[in-house]
């Protein structure tokens, strides 16, 4: 196990190294001046230019420049946003929690809806329920999320007027940001309209979560269904049946435990898809998260922001993936052996 962990850590280090080299080279790949792409300063007069060239080692070799780049990253000096001239790290700190909040709720929905439906579909795969669930799954799997989000807005926000069409919270309420997670912030705050604000926040959350959760939920249904059908064929299930266990006992004691183990790994894989889909969802529902921020940066040709956004999102995705992989190996003795 220790050797395994060390190997994983080594791999993580290598990938982060590769990622940082890629991010560094983006400064040169992007159109425009490298100096501007690294610093994010919109106007450069001669003295600052000289100063920065010295600080960034732009006159030195690429290796020296890269080392200076890493040092800046380490000290939290990620440059300024070309659009707002604010430090990038502060901006990211403001938008990242919104995305994490949305994605974590969608992930939860995909578990609590996807896993039971998947098991249900696997019990009788050729029955009516099984076929219906599979049909729903493949439909949801094929929906383009931006269109699905628009449909939800058209029907539930514009047509029926049940839910707001965008944003995180109505303008009537003001909640002092502490963690950046809206629901937690509301619960932590001591304002008189806490209940009303909570309700409003939940109403704002519902449509984006539904749009975002559709794809992972259907993937989860298909995954759990296939895993269950696979496990159901194994000989230990036959043994359990032969021992005289009831169907439910076999399902619970032998079926579920083995079928649901790979689901842990699925969290990591789902997470990366979720982040991408969240970018589209945020654009449609004007959710102030990192996806919308990143796409706005592309429109504004805000290269330092694109660079920083790429690094943050990739590091996040890779770390989550690595953690779930390690967890999976920890819980699954079969994966440990290899």
């Amino acid at each position: 196990m220790t050797i395994y962990l060390l190997r994983r850590l080594f791999l993580l280090g290598t990938v982060l190294l590769g990622l940082s080299i890629f991010a560094f080279s983006l400064g040169y790949l992007f159109p425009g001046e490298p100096l501007q792409n690294f610093s994010g300063l919109r106007y450069l007069d001669d003295s600052t230019r000289e100063q920065l060239t010295l600080a960034y080692r732009l006159d030195g070799s690429y290796l020296q420049q890269y080392l200076a780049f890493i040092q800046r990253l380490w000290h939290g000096d990620w440059g300024l946003s070309l659009a707002s001239q604010q430090p990038l790290l502060t901006e990211i700190r403001q938008v990242l929690p919104a995305t994490l909040e949305l994605t974590s709720y969608a992930l939860l929905v995909s578990f609590f809806v996807g896993i039971p439906l998947g098991i249900l579909a696997a019990i009788k795969p050729d029955g009516v329920i099984g076929k219906a669930i599979s049909a729903i799954a493949i439909t949801g799997y094929s929906l383009p999320i931006f269109w699905w989000g628009l449909l939800l807005i058209m029907v539930f926000a514009v047509g029926l007027g049940w839910f707001p069409s965008g944003g995180r919270l109505g303008v009537l309420y003001e909640i002092p940001p502490q963690t950046g997670f809206m629901l937690i912030d509301i619960l932590l705050s001591d304002v008189s309209y806490r209940q009303a604000a909570l309700q409003d926040a939940l109403r704002h959350l519902l449509l984006p979560t539904l749009a975002l959760a559709t794809f992972p939920t259907t993937v989860m249904i298909r995954f759990v269904r296939d895993a269950m059908l696979d496990v159901w064929e194994q000989s230990y299930i036959k043994t359990a049946k032969a021992k005289g266990l009831s169907r439910l006992q076999v399902l619970y004691r032998h079926g579920l435990r083995n079928a649901l183990l790979p689901v842990i790994r699925q969290i990591g894989l789902q997470f990366s898809t979720l982040i991408t889909l969240a970018m589209l969802t945020e654009v449609i529902f004007s959710w102030p998260g990192i996806g919308r921020w990143l796409i706005d940066s592309i429109y504004q040709r805000n290269f330092p922001a694109i660079q920083a956004g790429l690094m943050i999102i990739s590091v996040l995705v890779i770390t989550v993936n690595m953690l779930t992989e390690i967890l999976h190996t920890f819980f699954n003795p079969l994966a440990r052996k290899r």
Binding site: V15, I138, P144, F146, V158, I298, V317
Partner: protein, 297 residues
């Protein structure tokens, strides 16, 4: 599936015929195949089929409603957009861009993936294990994010979208093909063939590739649905196809501000994207099940 065969029937048809038989037993898969063939034909024949020029702006017919409503014209079945362009012609033309381009990107990624996957799969030891883990992690960066970054470097446009999407699809092809090859190389018949004196190239072309093409087809179907969704999504974010181009995602984005006046101009392209992806997924699922059943006999 019946467990006991009443009549003994010798089944020695070619694998392809067996596969087709199992495939044709599934109604949903056949339906998907019909849709897929329809889209394929449309994407090739679109320029011949369009009733009007998709870029011609008829300024006396702005925002014409679809022909099923009272004010519609039968010459314009889906109506026109805010510049008086025929929506049906634009949808047909869009098949070439969204569906046809997705096919091309997948083909490109497949060819490059086969070459790289074969190189990686035939090598052994530390190098190969490291390569595999590295790909595992590159794979975790979602394809759309990768495509967005590539577009940000190259600049928006349809051709750049194609490059970006195929580059973004490449890691999953390399990874899948590498694993499939590694699995084949463990088989006894490969060892037997090697003992007969076959070199790497002969093993690859005569044993490995004929045995992995099924997996590769399924990979292609998955990649194709991703490619369609990614191209449309990039178009929707106006990072892909630019405004006048009749790409489905870009068309949705174009008509977003008209969603109250002409909901059909948003609904129909979306429905087309959905149908195209659905057809690919149905065919992919059908193939997967057919292959499984064929192996079980």
């Amino acid at each position: 599936m019946q467990k006991f065969r009443l009549y003994f029937e010798e089944n020695n048809r070619s694998p392809l015929v067996q596969l087709w038989r199992e495939f044709a037993r599934q109604h949903s898969a056949l339906f998907g195949l019909a849709l897929f063939a329809g889209f394929l034909l449309l994407s090739i024949l679109a320029p011949l089929l369009t009733p009007h020029d998709p870029y011609l702006q008829a300024d006396h017919l702005l925002l014409l409603p679809p022909s099923w409503s009272e004010q519609g014209l039968v010459q314009y079945p889906f109506g026109t957009d805010d510049l008086g362009r025929d929506l049906l012609s634009r949808m047909l033309k869009g098949t070439t861009y969204t569906f046809g381009l997705a096919l091309v990107t997948v083909l490109g990624a497949l060819i490059a993936g086969l070459a790289l996957g074969a190189l990686a799969g035939m090598s052994r030891g530390v190098k190969s294990s490291f390569f595999n883990h590295l790909l595992d992690l590159i794979l975790t960066i979602p394809s759309l994010l990768l495509a967005i970054i590539i577009v940000a470097v190259l600049g928006p446009g349809l051709a750049n979208t194609a490059w970006a999407v195929s580059l973004a699809l490449l890691p999953q092809f390399v990874h899948g093909i590498r694993n499939a090859i590694a699995e084949q190389l463990k088989q006894d018949y490969v060892t037997a063939y090697r003992l007969d004196g076959a070199n790497n190239w002969q093993v690859l072309t005569r044993l490995v590739i004929p045995n992995i093409w099924e997996k590769v087809t399924i990979m292609c179907s998955m990649a194709l649905s991703t490619a369609i969704l990614d191209i449309a999504a990039l178009g929707f974010l106006s990072l892909g196809a630019q405004a006048p181009t009749a790409e489905w995602g870009a068309m949705i984005n174009d008509s977003l501000d008209l969603i109250y006046l002409a909901p059909a101009s948003v609904a129909i392209p979306g429905l087309l994207i959905f149908t195209a992806v659905l057809s690919v997924n149905l065919v992919g699922d059908g193939l997967k099940i057919a292959m499984q059943r064929r192996r079980e006999g």
